[in-house]
Subunit: 210 residues, 2 copies
Protein backbone atom coordinates (compact mmCIF):
# COMPACT_ATOMS: atom_id res chain seq x y z
CA UNK A 1 0.00 0.00 0.00
CA UNK A 2 2.87 2.33 0.93
CA UNK A 3 4.55 1.44 -2.38
CA UNK A 4 1.36 2.47 -4.15
CA UNK A 5 1.17 5.80 -2.28
CA UNK A 6 4.75 6.72 -3.13
CA UNK A 7 4.11 5.76 -6.76
CA UNK A 8 0.98 7.91 -6.93
CA UNK A 9 2.90 10.94 -5.72
CA UNK A 10 5.70 10.40 -8.23
CA UNK A 11 3.08 9.86 -10.96
CA UNK A 12 1.50 13.19 -10.14
CA UNK A 13 4.94 14.76 -10.54
CA UNK A 14 5.28 13.18 -13.98
CA UNK A 15 1.79 14.34 -14.88
CA UNK A 16 2.56 17.95 -13.95
CA UNK A 17 5.84 17.93 -15.90
CA UNK A 18 4.12 16.61 -19.01
CA UNK A 19 1.23 19.06 -18.69
CA UNK A 20 3.70 21.91 -18.28
CA UNK A 21 5.46 20.84 -21.46
CA UNK A 22 2.18 20.40 -23.35
CA UNK A 23 2.75 16.67 -23.89
CA UNK A 24 -0.15 14.23 -23.67
CA UNK A 25 0.58 10.71 -22.40
CA UNK A 26 -0.95 7.31 -23.17
CA UNK A 27 -0.24 4.08 -21.22
CA UNK A 28 -0.67 1.02 -23.47
CA UNK A 29 -1.23 -2.31 -21.69
CA UNK A 30 -1.89 -5.89 -22.76
CA UNK A 31 -0.79 -9.48 -22.34
CA UNK A 32 2.59 -10.38 -23.84
CA UNK A 33 2.47 -10.44 -27.64
CA UNK A 34 -0.96 -8.89 -28.23
CA UNK A 35 0.59 -6.35 -30.60
CA UNK A 36 1.42 -3.26 -28.52
CA UNK A 37 4.67 -2.56 -30.37
CA UNK A 38 3.05 -3.35 -33.73
CA UNK A 39 0.25 -0.86 -32.97
CA UNK A 40 2.80 1.84 -32.19
CA UNK A 41 4.76 1.01 -35.37
CA UNK A 42 1.71 1.22 -37.64
CA UNK A 43 0.59 4.47 -36.02
CA UNK A 44 4.02 6.10 -36.38
CA UNK A 45 4.18 5.18 -40.08
CA UNK A 46 0.64 6.38 -40.76
CA UNK A 47 0.89 9.64 -38.77
CA UNK A 48 4.23 10.62 -40.33
CA UNK A 49 5.36 12.96 -37.57
CA UNK A 50 2.06 14.74 -36.87
CA UNK A 51 1.51 14.76 -33.95
CA UNK A 52 5.13 14.50 -32.76
CA UNK A 53 5.41 11.28 -30.79
CA UNK A 54 7.98 9.95 -28.33
CA UNK A 55 7.90 6.39 -26.97
CA UNK A 56 8.90 4.74 -23.70
CA UNK A 57 9.34 0.96 -24.03
CA UNK A 58 9.06 -1.23 -20.94
CA UNK A 59 10.26 -4.88 -20.89
CA UNK A 60 11.87 -7.16 -18.33
CA UNK A 61 14.81 -7.62 -20.72
CA UNK A 62 16.26 -6.72 -24.16
CA UNK A 63 16.01 -3.58 -26.31
CA UNK A 64 14.13 -5.38 -29.09
CA UNK A 65 11.02 -3.21 -28.89
CA UNK A 66 12.94 0.07 -28.69
CA UNK A 67 14.94 -0.97 -31.76
CA UNK A 68 11.71 -1.50 -33.70
CA UNK A 69 10.47 1.95 -32.69
CA UNK A 70 13.80 3.56 -33.49
CA UNK A 71 13.48 2.11 -36.99
CA UNK A 72 10.31 4.21 -37.34
CA UNK A 73 12.32 7.37 -36.64
CA UNK A 74 10.63 8.23 -33.37
CA UNK A 75 12.56 9.21 -30.23
CA UNK A 76 12.45 6.20 -27.92
CA UNK A 77 13.79 5.14 -24.51
CA UNK A 78 13.92 1.49 -23.42
CA UNK A 79 13.38 0.72 -19.74
CA UNK A 80 14.45 -2.74 -18.60
CA UNK A 81 12.78 -3.75 -15.36
CA UNK A 82 15.23 -6.65 -14.89
CA UNK A 83 12.43 -9.08 -14.08
CA UNK A 84 9.96 -6.50 -12.74
CA UNK A 85 6.43 -7.15 -13.94
CA UNK A 86 5.20 -3.60 -14.52
CA UNK A 87 6.44 -0.05 -15.10
CA UNK A 88 6.35 2.44 -12.22
CA UNK A 89 6.29 6.22 -12.09
CA UNK A 90 9.87 6.53 -10.81
CA UNK A 91 11.18 4.75 -13.92
CA UNK A 92 9.05 6.87 -16.22
CA UNK A 93 10.08 10.05 -14.44
CA UNK A 94 13.74 9.21 -14.92
CA UNK A 95 13.21 8.38 -18.62
CA UNK A 96 11.58 11.75 -19.26
CA UNK A 97 14.99 13.37 -19.00
CA UNK A 98 16.05 11.58 -22.20
CA UNK A 99 13.38 13.32 -24.29
CA UNK A 100 13.24 16.84 -25.69
CA UNK A 101 9.73 17.37 -24.32
CA UNK A 102 9.48 20.83 -25.87
CA UNK A 103 9.42 19.13 -29.27
CA UNK A 104 6.84 16.44 -28.49
CA UNK A 105 3.04 16.47 -28.52
CA UNK A 106 2.42 12.91 -27.33
CA UNK A 107 4.28 10.34 -25.23
CA UNK A 108 3.30 6.69 -25.75
CA UNK A 109 4.27 4.28 -22.99
CA UNK A 110 4.31 0.58 -23.87
CA UNK A 111 3.98 -1.20 -20.53
CA UNK A 112 5.39 -4.63 -19.68
CA UNK A 113 3.25 -7.39 -21.22
CA UNK A 114 1.00 -8.29 -18.28
CA UNK A 115 -2.78 -8.08 -17.77
CA UNK A 116 -2.58 -7.71 -13.98
CA UNK A 117 0.28 -5.88 -12.30
CA UNK A 118 0.65 -2.72 -14.43
CA UNK A 119 -2.95 -1.70 -13.74
CA UNK A 120 -2.35 -0.50 -10.21
CA UNK A 121 0.55 1.81 -11.13
CA UNK A 122 -0.26 5.32 -12.30
CA UNK A 123 2.54 6.46 -14.63
CA UNK A 124 1.29 10.03 -15.05
CA UNK A 125 -0.73 9.23 -18.18
CA UNK A 126 -3.89 10.97 -19.40
CA UNK A 127 -5.29 7.91 -21.15
CA UNK A 128 -5.08 4.14 -20.86
CA UNK A 129 -5.34 1.72 -23.78
CA UNK A 130 -6.05 -1.99 -23.24
CA UNK A 131 -5.16 -4.31 -26.13
CA UNK A 132 -6.53 -7.83 -26.56
CA UNK A 133 -5.71 -10.07 -29.50
CA UNK A 134 -8.25 -12.35 -31.19
CA UNK A 135 -5.91 -15.26 -30.48
CA UNK A 136 -6.13 -14.95 -26.69
CA UNK A 137 -9.78 -15.96 -26.21
CA UNK A 138 -12.84 -13.73 -25.75
CA UNK A 139 -12.95 -14.42 -21.98
CA UNK A 140 -9.88 -12.31 -21.15
CA UNK A 141 -11.84 -9.24 -19.88
CA UNK A 142 -13.89 -11.43 -17.53
CA UNK A 143 -10.82 -13.17 -16.10
CA UNK A 144 -8.64 -10.05 -15.86
CA UNK A 145 -11.26 -7.37 -15.18
CA UNK A 146 -9.16 -4.72 -13.43
CA UNK A 147 -7.41 -3.51 -16.58
CA UNK A 148 -10.66 -3.05 -18.50
CA UNK A 149 -12.33 -1.10 -15.69
CA UNK A 150 -9.81 1.72 -16.17
CA UNK A 151 -9.45 1.61 -19.97
CA UNK A 152 -10.19 4.70 -22.08
CA UNK A 153 -9.87 2.69 -25.29
CA UNK A 154 -9.93 -1.04 -25.99
CA UNK A 155 -8.24 -2.36 -29.13
CA UNK A 156 -9.12 -5.81 -30.44
CA UNK A 157 -6.02 -6.59 -32.52
CA UNK A 158 -5.19 -9.29 -35.10
CA UNK A 159 -8.72 -9.37 -36.47
CA UNK A 160 -7.23 -10.84 -39.66
CA UNK A 161 -6.92 -14.09 -37.69
CA UNK A 162 -10.63 -14.33 -36.80
CA UNK A 163 -11.34 -17.06 -39.39
CA UNK A 164 -8.82 -19.40 -37.69
CA UNK A 165 -9.67 -18.98 -34.01
CA UNK A 166 -12.65 -19.46 -31.68
CA UNK A 167 -13.13 -15.83 -30.79
CA UNK A 168 -16.67 -14.47 -30.37
CA UNK A 169 -16.49 -10.70 -30.87
CA UNK A 170 -19.96 -10.13 -29.42
CA UNK A 171 -19.20 -12.04 -26.21
CA UNK A 172 -15.94 -10.08 -25.92
CA UNK A 173 -17.70 -6.73 -26.40
CA UNK A 174 -20.31 -7.72 -23.84
CA UNK A 175 -17.67 -8.41 -21.20
CA UNK A 176 -15.81 -5.16 -21.95
CA UNK A 177 -18.87 -2.90 -21.92
CA UNK A 178 -20.10 -4.56 -18.74
CA UNK A 179 -16.87 -3.54 -17.02
CA UNK A 180 -16.48 -0.11 -18.63
CA UNK A 181 -19.77 1.12 -20.10
CA UNK A 182 -19.37 3.25 -23.20
CA UNK A 183 -15.67 2.59 -23.78
CA UNK A 184 -14.76 2.71 -27.47
CA UNK A 185 -13.67 -0.68 -28.88
CA UNK A 186 -11.63 -0.66 -32.11
CA UNK A 187 -11.17 -3.73 -34.33
CA UNK A 188 -7.66 -3.52 -35.78
CA UNK A 189 -5.26 -5.57 -37.83
CA UNK A 190 -1.65 -4.37 -37.89
CA UNK A 191 -1.19 -6.86 -40.70
CA UNK A 192 -3.90 -5.71 -43.12
CA UNK A 193 -4.18 -2.10 -41.92
CA UNK A 194 -7.86 -2.44 -41.03
CA UNK A 195 -8.83 -0.05 -38.20
CA UNK A 196 -5.51 1.81 -38.28
CA UNK A 197 -7.20 5.06 -39.39
CA UNK A 198 -9.50 4.99 -36.38
CA UNK A 199 -6.55 4.23 -34.08
CA UNK A 200 -4.63 7.20 -35.52
CA UNK A 201 -7.66 9.49 -35.11
CA UNK A 202 -7.89 8.48 -31.48
CA UNK A 203 -4.18 9.26 -31.01
CA UNK A 204 -4.52 12.67 -32.69
CA UNK A 205 -7.43 13.39 -30.37
CA UNK A 206 -5.36 12.34 -27.34
CA UNK A 207 -2.44 14.52 -28.45
CA UNK A 208 -4.60 17.60 -28.94
CA UNK A 209 -5.97 17.23 -25.45
CA UNK A 210 -2.60 18.05 -23.91
CA UNK B 1 12.11 -11.59 0.20
CA UNK B 2 10.44 -12.66 3.42
CA UNK B 3 7.29 -13.44 1.41
CA UNK B 4 9.40 -15.70 -0.79
CA UNK B 5 10.94 -17.52 2.20
CA UNK B 6 7.55 -18.23 3.76
CA UNK B 7 6.27 -19.42 0.40
CA UNK B 8 9.21 -21.79 -0.07
CA UNK B 9 8.55 -23.40 3.30
CA UNK B 10 4.86 -23.86 2.53
CA UNK B 11 5.78 -25.23 -0.90
CA UNK B 12 8.02 -27.81 0.69
CA UNK B 13 5.06 -28.83 2.84
CA UNK B 14 2.92 -29.28 -0.27
CA UNK B 15 5.71 -31.23 -1.94
CA UNK B 16 5.99 -33.66 0.99
CA UNK B 17 2.21 -34.18 1.14
CA UNK B 18 2.06 -34.98 -2.56
CA UNK B 19 5.08 -37.29 -2.40
CA UNK B 20 3.54 -39.08 0.53
CA UNK B 21 0.34 -39.61 -1.45
CA UNK B 22 2.24 -40.71 -4.56
CA UNK B 23 0.95 -37.79 -6.64
CA UNK B 24 3.24 -36.03 -9.13
CA UNK B 25 2.70 -32.33 -9.74
CA UNK B 26 3.17 -30.11 -12.80
CA UNK B 27 3.01 -26.26 -12.77
CA UNK B 28 1.87 -24.94 -16.18
CA UNK B 29 2.72 -21.30 -16.94
CA UNK B 30 2.28 -18.95 -19.89
CA UNK B 31 1.00 -15.56 -20.97
CA UNK B 32 -2.78 -15.10 -20.91
CA UNK B 33 -4.48 -17.05 -23.67
CA UNK B 34 -1.55 -19.17 -24.89
CA UNK B 35 -3.65 -22.32 -24.51
CA UNK B 36 -2.93 -23.71 -21.02
CA UNK B 37 -6.53 -24.79 -20.44
CA UNK B 38 -6.83 -26.14 -23.98
CA UNK B 39 -3.67 -28.23 -23.47
CA UNK B 40 -5.14 -29.71 -20.30
CA UNK B 41 -8.45 -30.41 -22.05
CA UNK B 42 -6.85 -32.22 -24.99
CA UNK B 43 -4.64 -34.25 -22.66
CA UNK B 44 -7.56 -35.32 -20.46
CA UNK B 45 -9.56 -36.47 -23.46
CA UNK B 46 -6.63 -38.35 -24.99
CA UNK B 47 -5.44 -40.00 -21.76
CA UNK B 48 -8.94 -41.14 -20.77
CA UNK B 49 -8.30 -41.48 -17.06
CA UNK B 50 -4.83 -43.09 -17.18
CA UNK B 51 -2.99 -41.64 -15.36
CA UNK B 52 -5.60 -40.27 -12.96
CA UNK B 53 -5.39 -36.50 -13.11
CA UNK B 54 -6.66 -33.72 -10.85
CA UNK B 55 -6.46 -30.04 -11.81
CA UNK B 56 -6.02 -26.79 -9.89
CA UNK B 57 -7.11 -23.74 -11.90
CA UNK B 58 -5.73 -20.30 -10.99
CA UNK B 59 -7.28 -17.06 -12.31
CA UNK B 60 -7.82 -13.56 -10.94
CA UNK B 61 -11.56 -14.02 -11.49
CA UNK B 62 -14.31 -16.38 -12.75
CA UNK B 63 -14.65 -20.17 -12.77
CA UNK B 64 -14.58 -20.39 -16.56
CA UNK B 65 -11.46 -22.55 -16.75
CA UNK B 66 -12.57 -24.92 -13.97
CA UNK B 67 -15.90 -25.38 -15.76
CA UNK B 68 -14.09 -26.43 -18.93
CA UNK B 69 -12.02 -28.97 -16.97
CA UNK B 70 -15.08 -30.24 -15.14
CA UNK B 71 -16.65 -30.92 -18.54
CA UNK B 72 -13.75 -33.31 -19.16
CA UNK B 73 -14.73 -35.30 -16.05
CA UNK B 74 -11.59 -34.54 -14.08
CA UNK B 75 -11.65 -33.43 -10.43
CA UNK B 76 -10.88 -29.71 -10.42
CA UNK B 77 -10.60 -26.83 -7.94
CA UNK B 78 -10.73 -23.18 -9.02
CA UNK B 79 -8.63 -20.69 -7.08
CA UNK B 80 -9.53 -17.03 -7.58
CA UNK B 81 -6.70 -14.71 -6.61
CA UNK B 82 -9.02 -11.68 -6.65
CA UNK B 83 -6.58 -9.64 -8.69
CA UNK B 84 -3.42 -11.44 -7.54
CA UNK B 85 -0.98 -12.04 -10.39
CA UNK B 86 0.32 -15.50 -9.50
CA UNK B 87 -0.53 -18.61 -7.46
CA UNK B 88 1.25 -19.21 -4.15
CA UNK B 89 1.94 -22.30 -2.10
CA UNK B 90 -0.54 -21.37 0.65
CA UNK B 91 -3.39 -21.32 -1.87
CA UNK B 92 -2.33 -24.63 -3.39
CA UNK B 93 -1.92 -26.19 0.03
CA UNK B 94 -5.45 -25.20 0.96
CA UNK B 95 -6.85 -26.55 -2.33
CA UNK B 96 -5.24 -29.95 -1.77
CA UNK B 97 -7.86 -30.67 0.84
CA UNK B 98 -10.53 -30.71 -1.84
CA UNK B 99 -8.97 -33.65 -3.66
CA UNK B 100 -8.98 -37.35 -2.90
CA UNK B 101 -5.20 -37.59 -3.29
CA UNK B 102 -5.22 -41.34 -2.69
CA UNK B 103 -7.03 -41.70 -6.02
CA UNK B 104 -4.81 -39.43 -8.08
CA UNK B 105 -1.51 -40.00 -9.89
CA UNK B 106 -0.91 -36.50 -11.21
CA UNK B 107 -1.91 -32.95 -10.21
CA UNK B 108 -1.83 -30.32 -12.94
CA UNK B 109 -1.72 -26.70 -11.80
CA UNK B 110 -2.70 -24.07 -14.35
CA UNK B 111 -1.10 -20.87 -13.07
CA UNK B 112 -2.43 -17.33 -13.61
CA UNK B 113 -1.69 -16.16 -17.17
CA UNK B 114 1.53 -14.17 -16.62
CA UNK B 115 5.09 -14.63 -17.93
CA UNK B 116 6.75 -12.92 -14.96
CA UNK B 117 5.31 -13.14 -11.45
CA UNK B 118 4.44 -16.85 -11.14
CA UNK B 119 8.04 -17.88 -11.79
CA UNK B 120 9.36 -16.94 -8.37
CA UNK B 121 6.75 -18.94 -6.45
CA UNK B 122 7.40 -22.61 -5.81
CA UNK B 123 4.04 -24.38 -5.55
CA UNK B 124 5.43 -27.77 -4.56
CA UNK B 125 5.60 -29.03 -8.14
CA UNK B 126 8.02 -31.60 -9.59
CA UNK B 127 7.99 -30.16 -13.09
CA UNK B 128 7.39 -26.82 -14.78
CA UNK B 129 5.90 -26.37 -18.23
CA UNK B 130 6.23 -23.07 -20.14
CA UNK B 131 3.76 -22.53 -22.98
CA UNK B 132 4.24 -20.00 -25.78
CA UNK B 133 1.82 -19.54 -28.66
CA UNK B 134 2.90 -18.89 -32.24
CA UNK B 135 0.77 -15.74 -32.19
CA UNK B 136 2.78 -14.02 -29.44
CA UNK B 137 6.04 -13.46 -31.34
CA UNK B 138 9.25 -15.54 -31.30
CA UNK B 139 11.02 -13.00 -29.03
CA UNK B 140 9.05 -13.89 -25.89
CA UNK B 141 11.79 -16.06 -24.29
CA UNK B 142 14.36 -13.28 -24.74
CA UNK B 143 12.11 -10.65 -23.21
CA UNK B 144 10.80 -12.81 -20.37
CA UNK B 145 13.79 -15.09 -19.71
CA UNK B 146 13.16 -16.10 -16.09
CA UNK B 147 10.33 -18.51 -16.86
CA UNK B 148 12.32 -20.37 -19.50
CA UNK B 149 15.38 -20.76 -17.27
CA UNK B 150 13.37 -23.00 -14.95
CA UNK B 151 11.24 -24.86 -17.53
CA UNK B 152 11.35 -28.68 -17.74
CA UNK B 153 9.27 -28.63 -20.94
CA UNK B 154 8.45 -25.88 -23.43
CA UNK B 155 5.32 -26.19 -25.54
CA UNK B 156 4.97 -24.11 -28.69
CA UNK B 157 1.17 -24.10 -29.11
CA UNK B 158 -1.15 -23.08 -31.97
CA UNK B 159 1.26 -24.25 -34.66
CA UNK B 160 -1.75 -24.49 -36.97
CA UNK B 161 -1.57 -20.67 -37.15
CA UNK B 162 2.05 -20.53 -38.38
CA UNK B 163 1.04 -19.70 -41.99
CA UNK B 164 -0.68 -16.49 -40.84
CA UNK B 165 1.84 -15.01 -38.40
CA UNK B 166 5.46 -13.82 -38.41
CA UNK B 167 6.84 -16.47 -36.09
CA UNK B 168 10.31 -17.90 -36.74
CA UNK B 169 10.46 -21.29 -35.03
CA UNK B 170 14.25 -21.52 -35.32
CA UNK B 171 14.82 -18.11 -33.71
CA UNK B 172 12.40 -19.14 -30.94
CA UNK B 173 14.20 -22.46 -30.36
CA UNK B 174 17.53 -20.65 -30.29
CA UNK B 175 16.37 -18.31 -27.53
CA UNK B 176 14.87 -21.15 -25.48
CA UNK B 177 17.87 -23.48 -25.72
CA UNK B 178 20.20 -20.60 -24.91
CA UNK B 179 18.34 -20.07 -21.64
CA UNK B 180 17.74 -23.75 -20.79
CA UNK B 181 20.10 -26.02 -22.74
CA UNK B 182 18.60 -29.38 -23.62
CA UNK B 183 15.01 -28.59 -22.64
CA UNK B 184 12.50 -30.50 -24.77
CA UNK B 185 10.40 -28.25 -27.02
CA UNK B 186 7.11 -29.67 -28.34
CA UNK B 187 5.22 -28.21 -31.32
CA UNK B 188 1.51 -28.63 -30.57
CA UNK B 189 -1.84 -27.63 -31.97
CA UNK B 190 -4.84 -28.14 -29.70
CA UNK B 191 -6.92 -27.47 -32.78
CA UNK B 192 -5.55 -30.11 -35.17
CA UNK B 193 -4.20 -32.53 -32.56
CA UNK B 194 -0.64 -32.30 -33.82
CA UNK B 195 1.88 -32.96 -31.02
CA UNK B 196 -0.78 -34.10 -28.54
CA UNK B 197 0.64 -37.64 -28.42
CA UNK B 198 4.06 -36.33 -27.39
CA UNK B 199 2.45 -34.05 -24.77
CA UNK B 200 0.54 -37.05 -23.33
CA UNK B 201 3.70 -39.17 -23.26
CA UNK B 202 5.46 -36.47 -21.32
CA UNK B 203 2.56 -36.33 -18.84
CA UNK B 204 2.58 -40.12 -18.39
CA UNK B 205 6.29 -39.92 -17.74
CA UNK B 206 5.77 -37.14 -15.19
CA UNK B 207 3.02 -39.14 -13.45
CA UNK B 208 5.11 -42.28 -13.19
CA UNK B 209 7.88 -40.33 -11.54
CA UNK B 210 5.77 -39.73 -8.44
N1 LIG C 1 -1.59 -11.82 -37.89
C1 LIG C 1 -1.30 -10.73 -37.16
N2 LIG C 1 -0.18 -10.72 -36.42
C2 LIG C 1 0.08 -9.61 -35.70
C3 LIG C 1 -0.76 -8.46 -35.71
N3 LIG C 1 -0.22 -7.53 -34.88
C4 LIG C 1 0.91 -8.05 -34.39
N4 LIG C 1 1.10 -9.31 -34.88
C5 LIG C 1 2.21 -10.22 -34.55
O1 LIG C 1 2.10 -10.56 -33.18
C6 LIG C 1 3.42 -10.77 -32.62
C7 LIG C 1 3.60 -9.90 -31.41
O2 LIG C 1 3.55 -8.53 -31.79
P1 LIG C 1 4.22 -7.38 -30.90
O3 LIG C 1 3.89 -6.09 -31.53
O4 LIG C 1 5.67 -7.68 -30.67
O5 LIG C 1 3.43 -7.59 -29.52
P2 LIG C 1 3.68 -6.86 -28.13
O6 LIG C 1 2.37 -6.74 -27.43
O7 LIG C 1 4.44 -5.60 -28.34
O8 LIG C 1 4.60 -7.92 -27.35
P3 LIG C 1 5.41 -7.69 -25.96
O9 LIG C 1 5.98 -6.30 -25.99
O10 LIG C 1 6.49 -8.73 -25.96
O11 LIG C 1 4.42 -7.90 -24.85
C8 LIG C 1 4.40 -10.44 -33.74
O12 LIG C 1 4.78 -11.66 -34.37
C9 LIG C 1 3.58 -9.60 -34.71
O13 LIG C 1 4.02 -9.70 -36.04
C10 LIG C 1 -1.95 -8.50 -36.52
O14 LIG C 1 -2.76 -7.57 -36.60
N5 LIG C 1 -2.17 -9.66 -37.22
N1 LIG D 1 -5.98 -21.90 -33.59
C1 LIG D 1 -5.74 -22.40 -32.38
N2 LIG D 1 -6.35 -21.84 -31.31
C2 LIG D 1 -6.09 -22.36 -30.09
C3 LIG D 1 -5.18 -23.43 -29.89
N3 LIG D 1 -5.12 -23.70 -28.56
C4 LIG D 1 -5.94 -22.85 -27.94
N4 LIG D 1 -6.53 -22.02 -28.86
C5 LIG D 1 -7.47 -20.92 -28.59
O1 LIG D 1 -6.78 -19.94 -27.84
C6 LIG D 1 -7.70 -19.29 -26.94
C7 LIG D 1 -7.16 -19.36 -25.54
O2 LIG D 1 -7.08 -20.71 -25.11
P1 LIG D 1 -7.08 -21.08 -23.56
O3 LIG D 1 -6.91 -22.55 -23.47
O4 LIG D 1 -8.28 -20.50 -22.87
O5 LIG D 1 -5.78 -20.31 -23.06
P2 LIG D 1 -5.24 -20.13 -21.57
O6 LIG D 1 -3.75 -20.07 -21.63
O7 LIG D 1 -5.81 -21.19 -20.69
O8 LIG D 1 -5.82 -18.71 -21.14
P3 LIG D 1 -5.83 -18.06 -19.66
O9 LIG D 1 -6.14 -19.16 -18.69
O10 LIG D 1 -6.91 -17.03 -19.71
O11 LIG D 1 -4.48 -17.45 -19.46
C8 LIG D 1 -9.04 -20.01 -27.11
O12 LIG D 1 -9.83 -19.25 -28.00
C9 LIG D 1 -8.65 -21.33 -27.72
O13 LIG D 1 -9.68 -21.89 -28.51
C10 LIG D 1 -4.54 -24.01 -31.05
O14 LIG D 1 -3.73 -24.94 -30.98
N5 LIG D 1 -4.86 -23.43 -32.26
MG1 LIG E 1 6.19 -4.99 -27.46
MG1 LIG F 1 -6.83 -21.00 -18.92
ZN1 LIG G 1 3.58 -7.35 -10.37
ZN1 LIG H 1 3.16 -10.33 -9.39
Amino acid sequence: QKVMKVNDELAQGVRLRLEGAGVACVNIMSAPGSGKTSLIEVALRALQGTPRIGVIEGDPDTTLDAERIAACNAPVVQINTDGGCHLEANLVGRALGDFDLANLDLLLIENVGNLVCPVGFDLGENKRVAVVSTTEGHDKPAKYPKLFRSADLVILNKIDLLPYVNFDVEIFRGYVLGLRPGVPILNVSCRTGEGVDAWCSWLREAASGA
